[in-house]
Point group: C2
Chain length 246, copies 2
């Protein structure tokens, strides 16, 4: 019986991949993942078999891992960022439900929420909600309701998958919903290709958010009522000032 | 002019500290942080000055970093998990607002949300909200409202600081609120001392959650309406099954 590691390699380069994730990659016989992620790691682990599969073939990719592990191989399912935040960890458990003796180990990584936040400043220092704007697997009505309730709760928002070629308008739709709850001057930030070539980040207001050039490599942050811009950085206070400590 | 690195060292041992965080620790002259975190790293970086300060002295700790950096030193402000999730990154920017030329670099780490989730299975694979149950800096009314709205939105919940010696009943109070929105059988999980000696995790139902022995080293997960227990693991489906793909 083999084993499946579900590995979060972090947001980009090897500098953000934990030693535990590196050790699991080194211990694996086969590296499986979305083509882009395989390309990020394979040069560091020469001699491994690699199986690179395109987007939207996630179920087949997880079944491949299961079948290889059942044949005795040690398989690394490679995820960008963290393995469990919109990653393959859940699907691996679902696909392997009929193979209860198979060993599965999920190895966490630095997720886009915290990597993007670090680049922009410190927007996630207080309570926050993480919402994917992709309606490929979730009805838009569910996404819209979550945006409304999170805004009503004054959560900082972190939005994954803000827009893609097939749905160029989802960030605009989300911003329009949020403008019903939050002021137009609410500070926002976008982080793109974090930790990779072409990394960039920038700030805007909620009123300007819908027009930003976001894509599947972008993570979007919307401040709460307390979030400020300090020296060009997006900062959500934790509350020390209300205690007179600042 | 010196520099401040605000470093997330990950949840526990050096195995979860990214190479980028390790390089920043190595490049620093002084390591500053809560006593427990200094103890976790100082043996790996001998010869550095260390300033270990107790809990509740966060503002003074950040001012110490600023003053040292203004004197030309390279300072590492060490945070457990990620530097920006209830970490010191925000307060550092606030405290250094009057020193705009000071260089500050926030280095993200694996946060307790994703590290605990990996140990328990894959609870955070769909939209989730992160809420701290500590009312030291946030009124309980705000926390309660966020719990209600997040439950109404069917977010998976990740609860930081679920209970402490001075507020032993906050997890019970939170669970009682959630029971107004979610079924008593809603699967929950707790992860304690992740990545450290004595690491443990276990599952329970929402009805049982209020009685669990949680402390400041524990992260709590409450599933949404779709979360399942598969082979003893807490798994939130991403939605592939609704497309007939599973």
């Amino acid at each position: 019986m083999g084993k499946i590691y579900v590995i979060g390699i972090g947001p980009g380069g090897a500098q953000e991949t934990t030693p535990r994730a590196q050790a699991a990659l080194a211990a694996s016989d086969v590296l499986v993942g979305y083509t882009t992620y395989i390309d990020l790691v394979k040069e560091h682990y020469p001699g491994k078999d690699t199986i690179a599969t395109p987007m939207t073939t996630e179920v087949a990719r997880c079944r491949t891992c299961r079948d290889l592990a059942l044949k005795g191989r040690t398989v690394a399912m490679i995820c960008s960022g963290d393995a469990g935040v919109y990653g393959m960890a859940g699907l691996i458990y679902q696909v392997c439900e009929d193979a209860p003796d198979l060993e599965i180990e999920v190895i966490p990584g630095v997720t886009a929420a915290t990597a993007g936040a670090a680049l922009l400043g410190a927007p996630l220092v207080h309570d926050f909600a993480v919402i994917s704007l992709s309606d490929a697997l979730t009805p838009w009505g569910t996404i819209a309701k979550r945006l409304e309730l999170a805004a009503e709760g004054d959560f900082v928002l972190c939005l994954y998958n803000p827009a893609s070629k097939t749905r160029p308008d989802t960030l605009k739709k989300a911003a329009d919903i949020l403008l019903g709850y939050c002021g137009p001057d609410t500070p926002c930030g976008l982080a793109r290709r974090v930790g990779r070539e072409g990394e960039e980040c920038w700030l805007c207001t909620l009123e300007e958010l819908g027009e930003q050039p976001a894509d599947m490599s972008t993570t979007v942050f919307v401040g709460n009522s307390q979030t400020q811009v300090i020296g060009g950085k997006l900062v959500t206070p934790r509350g020390y000032e209300t205690k007179g400590a600042l």
